[in-house]
Symmetry: C2
Subunit: 220 residues, 2 copies
DNA sequence: GCATATGCGTAACATTTGTTACGGTATTGA
DNA sequence: TCAATACCGTAACAAATGTTACGCATATGC
């Protein structure tokens, strides 16, 4: 069994290849190959299987009801595709999934996934943890958007990453601007203003909180 | 066994009370009661149990690192509390949870939850579906935020809810404004402009797409 | 009937944010 | 060393959004 197939099984992932070969753990699945630019799934397709991208890379695209295409993201193996939605009510692919290079994809029927969950605690826990961690990413992002105004977002982000008056931005300004959903120059300006107003000191990704009260005020 | 305890079990939820009493399905759990304004959980507390709000209502609050409090949401029974994070890596309550009226809360140890998942397919599926549906809500919201500019958000929302040239907003303008993270008058203005420019007709929550091309253009 | 609350559209104005363009620094690889 | 690239700060101006206030409906309860 392919090691990547065991992505979700926290127990199995740490076994040696020898141990894996001796393992009596068979999950019903089929493997498909896709050439570059082939569609692995179309937006709206019902999700009946767990899709595991074993090798290669895909891009996902969203198609609006009458044809505009907007890129969403790039996913590299090994990774599940739309795993979060497999068990959703009326679960369908929210995007097109297209191979950007030759890919190998394993499909595991939902029933087999459920069976594996019931019989293999590591698999169950792996899946749940993967889902939960992903949910946390989304949830954190939503919280950022809950703060109106760039300075409020920045202030919130700083308070989250604060440790004894110091903080690290943790990412490039360019990256953060995308994360916040604002333009880079705007974010840059916002930070400059925080510095100008004596609320923080900042340089090169690291900073110090000078006026905690004002910063808290901004985070609303 | 309390019917609310079986929130996640799609099989059990549809049984009659008689059937429930005869059911040989015992989940290890303890039940606590909380008076109004009592803390059920503090932000940062490790999550070791599944919290099920059986009766009453809670509010969640977020506390920034130095004390500001911002309200997040109200949750009414029956509902799980932070269920999405139970299996996260280093899972902790992201918010304070405070009773707004007398509450009853069942706590089921994580290990018992895992055991129940392994032995009761309905429970497993119920939990997974709940998580997945919730993930979809968050995911949809993130997608909205991915569209910059109010008109782009509105256009996207309309295209999502379009059906043969007609659409329903589905919510009040006030509600949508919050959902989009913009001010109500701003949203109102944006819609008015779409109408003024002959792109849509709109009245009372329902509308018609007049210029699909322009609308698609706006959704980027 | 009346007071109250909610939801909605509108307007004028203030503020924030986007846009575009430029220059500077650091890194990388030829 | 040099060119190419990525990342960042800044500025001036344009555009979008927020703010505040008002009037009008509709529902609700007294």
């Amino acid at each position: 069994m392919d090691r990547n197939m065991l992505f979700f099984c926290s127990f199995c992932r740490h076994k040696t290849d020898d141990e894996l070969h001796q393992l009596d753990c068979h999950i019903d699945h089929s493997i498909s190959r896709y050439e570059r630019n082939r569609y692995i799934a179309h937006q709206g397709d019902p999700i009946r299987d767990l899709y595991m991208l074993l090798d290669g890379q895909v891009r996902t695209e969203m198609v609006s009801s009458t044809g505009i295409v907007l890129p969403v993201s790039i996913i590299s193996a090994p990774a599940p595709l739309a795993a979060a939605f497999l068990f959703a009510t009326d679960s369908r692919f929210p995007v097109d999934v297209i191979a950007t290079e030759p890919c190998r994809v394993a499909r595991i029927p939902r029933s087999a996934v459920e069976g594996q969950m019931a019989s293999c605690p590591g698999f169950l826990r792996g899946f749940l943890t993967f889902s939960a961690d992903r949910m946390r990413l989304l949830s954190d992002r939503i919280k950022v958007f809950g703060h109106k105004g760039i300075k409020s977002k920045v202030a919130y982000h700083i308070l989250l990453n604060e440790h004894q008056g110091e903080f690290k931005m943790g990412h490039s300004i360019t990256w953060l601007a995308e994360y916040f959903g604002v333009e880079r120059p705007s974010l840059s300006r916002a930070i400059s203003e925080l510095v100008r107003d004596g609320i923080i000191a900042y340089r090169n990704g690291n900073g110090t909180i000078l006026n905690a009260a004002a910063l808290r005020e901004m985070a609303l």
